[in-house]
């Protein structure tokens, strides 16, 4: 039987609805604005204070981007490191989390080591030296391996694994399963929500790879889309007049206006990861909750 709703209830609902609509508008609006600008002509962009409905839809910016090898190539690079990086990260995180739920000798010590990295990082230069010493410079692996395991994700995933009843392990052992089989046949299938959630975390992290790409990759043709994006988007806003002059000179080729190209590039670089999101979303909410709240 439906609960009868009082007037007060309905007013509260109405206010809630209104506020949520407002909130989503606030969040969606920048995207809309970027889209509108990316399709507008430079003349219109310059002469309109606040461009909402471009009169003519111009495709110059998109044409420029699709004509430039760099952008397409960098999208490819980013897709590659996102897919490979997420898989590697999930594999390493889940195996380590699995190891850390067992009552092993020195388990506390290893947990301490993991927690230690929460507070103390090595810093840029030591990390660079290690990446260099292991020969990863200029390889895509330099973007994947150094940050493959996030200590936070590891702890949460371990917590998730701990919530799987210990009796299941024992039963499996009695049935003759070894550790690897327990991991692949019992733990992983039961942890799909957690894997989806952390997979998404890792994927978004990899998709946004920017600084490490500049640091570890010397060959510009290997740069990720965020690096290229920043190069395209960055507008002349500097107090150093010489730098702005040089930037201006570098721009002086007959390109479409940087503003609209920038906006178009943002749209193109955001869409792929947005597409992935809805498919993982239902696992996502569930997985994060399950990991953190113990029932």
């Amino acid at each position: 039987m439906p609960i009868k709703r009082t007037l007060a209830d309905r007013i509260t609902d109405g206010i809630n609805l209104f506020l949520l609509l407002l909130l989503s508008l606030v969040m969606l609006f920048p995207f809309y604005y970027i889209t509108a600008v990316s399709f507008s002509s430079y003349e219109e962009f310059v002469n309109t204070d606040f461009l909402l409905f471009p009169k003519a839809w111009v495709l110059d910016a998109y044409r420029f981007i699709f004509d430039s090898k760099e952008f397409i190539r960098s999208i490819g690079v980013t897709v590659y490191i996102t897919v490979v990086g997420s898989i590697v990260s999930l594999l390493l995180t889940s195996t380590m989390a699995f190891a850390l739920i067992r009552k092993l000798w020195g388990q506390r010590f290893y947990l301490f080591l993991v927690l230690f990295t929460f507070i103390f990082g090595a810093g840029m230069i030591p990390t660079y030296l290690i990446v260099k010493a292991t020969g990863l410079i200029d390889s895509y692996w330099s973007l994947i391996i150094p940050d493959a395991i996030s200590a936070f994700n590891l702890i949460v995933m371990r917590q998730f694994f701990l919530s799987i009843p210990e009796e299941l392990h024992e039963a499996a052992v009695i049935d003759g399963a070894n550790d690897l089989q327990i991991y692949t046949r019992i733990i992983l299938p039961l942890s799909k929500p957690a894997l989806a959630a952390f997979g998404l975390f890792y994927a978004v992290g990899q998709w946004n790879t920017y600084f490490t790409a500049i640091l570890y990759l010397n060959d510009p043709s290997k740069w990720t889309v965020q690096v290229i994006l920043r190069q395209i988007v960055i507008l002349d806003d500097t107090t150093n007049t010489l730098a702005s002059a040089a930037r201006e000179a570098a721009r002086s080729a007959h390109l479409p206006p940087p503003e609209t190209i920038g906006m178009a590039a943002i749209i193109l670089a955001t869409i792929p990861i947005l597409i992935v999101y809805p498919f993982l979303q239902k696992h996502f909410a569930k997985g994060v909750m399950l990991g953190s709240v113990k029932g």
């Binding site: 002469n47 230069i125 260099k132 010493a133 020969g135």
Partner: protein, 552 residues
Amino acid sequence: MKTNKIVTLFAALCLVTGLAGCGGSNNNSESNTASTNNAETTDSSNTTTNKTNANTTTNTTTDNAAATTTDKKLEISSIQGTWASPLPDPAGNGAKMINEKFNVDLKSQFVPYDEYANKLPVVMAAGDLPDMIGMEGVDANFVKWAKQGAFLPLNDYIDKYDAIKNIPKSVWDAVTVDGKIYAIPNYFPAKYGKKPIIRKDWLDNLGLSMPTSYDELKKVAIAFAKNDPDKDGKNDTLGLGLAKSIVYGAWMGAEWDSGWYNKNDKGQLIPGNISEGFKKQVTLLRDLYKEGAISKDWAVTKSADARKDFFAGKIGIYYEQPYDISETRFKQLKETNPTAELAVIPPFTQDDGQQGFTGLPGYYELHSLNANLKDDPDKIDRILEMINYFMTFIPVDQRNDQNPEFDWQHGGVGKGYNMENGVALDIDGAFSEMPETYLGIRYWAPTDEDTQPAMVLQDPFTKSFVQSAVDLLKNTKTYLDPVNRVHSDLLYAKVSELDQTVAEHTTKMIVGQESIEDWDKMVQEYLSKGGQDIIDQVNQLLDKDGIAGEWK
């Protein structure tokens, strides 16, 4: 060698798993070792990695090299920042042309300037230093590294090279640390930096004349905001384009801007932003703000947005330079405002009778050499020879396909550039075709006038503006700020923080949250927080080296 084992192991792993992207890692670790330090490591890494390419440098120390130097192919690595986008391909055609002409194997690495300041220190700390290190300007890092001996002192070498030798002393001073020259700067005209420009058609529309003092400037700017200078019947114009942190303000001469021109009562040079002259400028801006002649939002406006508004025809006074500019914005202004005319506002007469703008340091970007090259005179010579070659000035009227040097440097007509109306125009995105891209060296113009920036422009409106600006500036004096020529560690360490505080105070003064009467209090704060120490040190350095501000 534990490291090598790991590398080999890793490489083997990559081969086995056949994962893409790994090949690069192996290659690079090798080229990195090659570029670092002494010849010994270079040799060993080259032999162990078993490169088939016989051309790669083997800096074999089996000497008596003197006779064979020019025949020997040298590997030369470089790292430099760039604003170019896309970045030049390290293996592009231009690089190949250089390799052939100078018998080298050039390994250039380009990094966007946005991140270069982060990357370079890491590379330096890791000991990865290439043979040539580019920087955007002299800063605390440059001085530190020079003092630590990372760069090669060049004093003994430069006299052999005609173009390099001609760099004026005021610029050499900028790259000199403790009497040693540590870098070769690139040319940039001191005269042709950002200058205040005004909509001359607006002046004419309102029957006003070119301002010659701050009082007149104030009247003009207010009239621009209030009297509908563009005659469109709408109240949609502003007098002066101002952006946050007071970029660019209203610099109408050396006395009033942020360069070190004014002196305190002890006779010491002081930074412009705490001088009486600057106070005058801030007072003007405050008045303009009160009258609505500058944007109400200026304190949060980016300079790029202020410029956009100027070129959309909404602002009467802004800053632009006649050198190294893009024609797009000018064309845009002329299309939307067909009657637009631009002119540089001539500098105002100062209280001391002088009249002129503060100039730029006279260089932009510099290249240092790795100190480890000191035992390899062949390589030093080869690098300087290349720099000298690319620095040798080609007069503007000879920059065409008839001049073989120009043609070669630009990658050849039809490939790197096209000839249009007798002017060489770069082909879009053809950076990688042009040898001149790869070393990042620019022609050193004998005088600023020799640059003739109007000659290379196509758009008639831009061209006429640039020409008129150059004509005006030719007969205008330029003040060379001496602070660019000394290296004060206190200045490097503290000045940006102090400047920040001053910018905050002056911003508040302009918008009326703080009284202009508090100016002296602000100056005291600046001085007591370390400003006086900076002033003392800078003046001491200037006295020691006998450097003074000069008008050119």
